[in-house]
């Protein structure tokens, strides 16, 4: 009887935790929606800002975020995937692999503002790319790298050894096995990792602070070497540098809502893919 009582307390405690998590998420969504929904309109999403950021839309920022995010993924995906393949399939197990894994984990722990400074020093100044989409993408790419490597590794390790053996025993080389069997099987997992990285990267502010973002640009970026507006930075800028706080605050919340929506939407896709994968392969 007493054990049942204790179990009841335990379950209640767990339920409380779950509930509070949902509660905070709900609270965030509520606040931002309430304050930002009023600004959202078709014009808001498709037009450039006017009149000192008090009217018009935030389209350039949306576009900018898209460009930088895409660039980051284009850089980090091939590199991260190759790294994961090497670590999982080719490297001799043991000391070296553990060192590499530890380094990757440490990289993931670097604060994002440090990434920003790194990007500034190396890409903007040293390589001379200046404040640009390129610098921003590369910086964010490095930030995304550990995420992609981890999820790719996990996906590759989840592929059962038995089908690798089956492929090799039919006379396939190791690379053929990876290319034709392992990668396709790991694809859903890798994809999930990529999508989650996108979500993360899209919302980062500090790394693009010094490397890519501009508060205001006339028109849209012409090349990868040009500066760009971005949603996270736009929110920051509106709240700290704006001249017309009341209207700009509302716009900032509107941007937050858009950003939130993008991130949640992308997470949703990742979850959906994962569910489907689980259903098919059990």
């Amino acid at each position: 009887m007493k054990r049942k009582y204790i179990q009841g307390i335990g379950f209640s405690g767990l339920f409380l935790c779950m509930f509070s998590t949902l509660f905070f998420l709900g609270l965030i969504i509520y606040f931002i929606t309430v304050r930002g929904a009023g600004v959202i309109s078709w014009d808001f999403l498709t037009q450039a800002p006017r009149s000192g950021m008090t009217q018009g839309g935030v389209a350039p920022a949306i576009i900018g975020t898209l460009y930088i995010t895409l660039g980051a993924i284009l850089f980090s995906l091939p590199l991260g995937l190759a790294c994961a393949i090497y670590l999982c399939e080719y490297s001799p197990k043991g000391f070296i692999v553990n060192i590499i894994r530890m380094s990757i984990n440490n990289l993931a722990g670097v604060p994002s503002v440090v990434f920003g400074l790194f990007g500034l020093a190396v890409f903007v100044k040293l390589f001379g790319f200046g404040i640009s989409i390129l610098s921003g993408s590369l910086t964010l790419g490095i930030l995304a790298l550990p995420l992609i490597i981890s999820s790719a590794q996990e996906a590759l390790l989840a592929v059962p050894q038995s089908i690798r053996e089956a492929s090799l025993s039919l006379g396939a080389t190791k690379w053929e096995t990876i290319k034709r069997i392992v990668l396709p099987a790991a694809l859903p997992g890798i994809l999930t990792g990529v999508i989650l990285s996108i979500g993360r990267v899209a919302g980062e502010t500090a790394p693009i602070l010094f490397t890519a973002a501009a508060f205001y640009m006339r028109g849209y970026p012409k090349s990868i070497f040009s500066e760009v507006m971005a949603l996270p930075y736009h929110i920051y800028a509106l709240m700290t540098e704006g001249i017309h706080p009341e209207q700009q605050r509302a716009i900032a919340y509107g941007c937050s809502l858009i950003l939130l929506f993008i991130v949640l939407f992308i997470s949703g896709i990742a979850i959906f893919i994962r569910q489907r994968q689980r259903a098919e392969y059990g």
Binding site: I163, A166, L170, A172, Y281
Partner: protein, 253 residues
């Protein structure tokens, strides 16, 4: 012996790191015969069979001393490509391991990695292999379905069809029926007896009655050594070594 020797293992000593798993094993595998390897768990028979298609190389820190030959050629010679050996010596594993692809693609995979591109030829081969593996009737209407939709016994026959498609000369079976029900087991044993007309077969099994039913020759392994090897009927009616007799009469342990 008038029979041809298809594969030979001579003076095999095999090590996992420092631990010796096989001691001075010598076996002749005769062409178009079924050779069974029996013995208690951990006696080295699975390790041994994997020498025939160089699958043990994939495990780190292993050492092989001695010669394994296919048609009188040393398969471990530096000039030999293991990939080629594995095409000629196929393997069916303990747990069926079809690729996460369709039934058709599972079989065509082996052909594609061996450079065959002609789609008509591939289709013909797939059909032929499925027929030979006694799976055609059950699979012909769902070639594009996922291989995982097949039952365990059917999946195992699919794995056999895979080997048949690449035209291995030798097929190694590593406890192929361990995870199957008796009806599927019987079908696979029947298949093995059929296949031996065209292939050389080596089967590892912990089920003695299975060895008695399908094998022409049987080898008894114990603690990494080959204790006795001979015609199946001799081994099972009048074994020469007391340890063999103790094992096959079930008085082991």
């Amino acid at each position: 012996m008038d029979k041809n020797i298809k594969m030979k293992a001579q003076d095999i000593n095999f090590f996992y790191g420092k631990h010796q798993a096989l001691k001075n094993v010598n076996i002749d595998i005769y062409a178009n015969q079924v050779t069974a390897l029996i013995g208690p768990s951990g006696c080295g028979k699975s390790t041994f069979i994997r020498l025939f298609n160089r699958m043990n190389e994939l495990i780190p820190h292993t050492t092989l001393k001695g010669t394994v030959s296919l048609d009188d050629t040393d398969i471990n010679a530096p000039s030999i490509d293991p990939v080629q050996i594995r095409r000629r010596v196929g393997m069916v594993f303990q747990k069926p391991n079809p690729f996460p692809k369709s039934i058709f693609e599972n079989i065509s995979y082996g052909l594609k990695v061996n450079g065959i591109k002609d789609p008509d030829f591939i289709e013909e081969k797939v059909v032929k292999s499925l027929k030979r593996a006694a799976l055609w009737e059950e699979a012909k209407d769902r070639l594009n379905d996922s291989a995982f939709k097949l039952s365990g016994g059917q999946q195992q026959r699919l794995c056999i069809a895979r080997c048949l498609a690449v035209e291995s000369e030798v097929i190694l079976f590593d406890e192929p029926c361990a995870s199957l029900d008796p009806v599927s087991t019987a079908k696979i044993e029947e298949l093995i007896l059929e296949l031996k007309k065209d292939y050389t077969i080596v089967i590892v099994t912990h089920n003695m009655q299975q060895a008695a039913r399908v094998a022409d020759y049987t080898g008894f392994f114990l603690l990494g050594e080959l204790i006795e090897f001979g015609k199946t009927q001799d081994i099972f009616t009048a074994p020469k070594d007391k340890r063999t007799e103790a094992y096959i009469t079930g008085r082991f342990g």
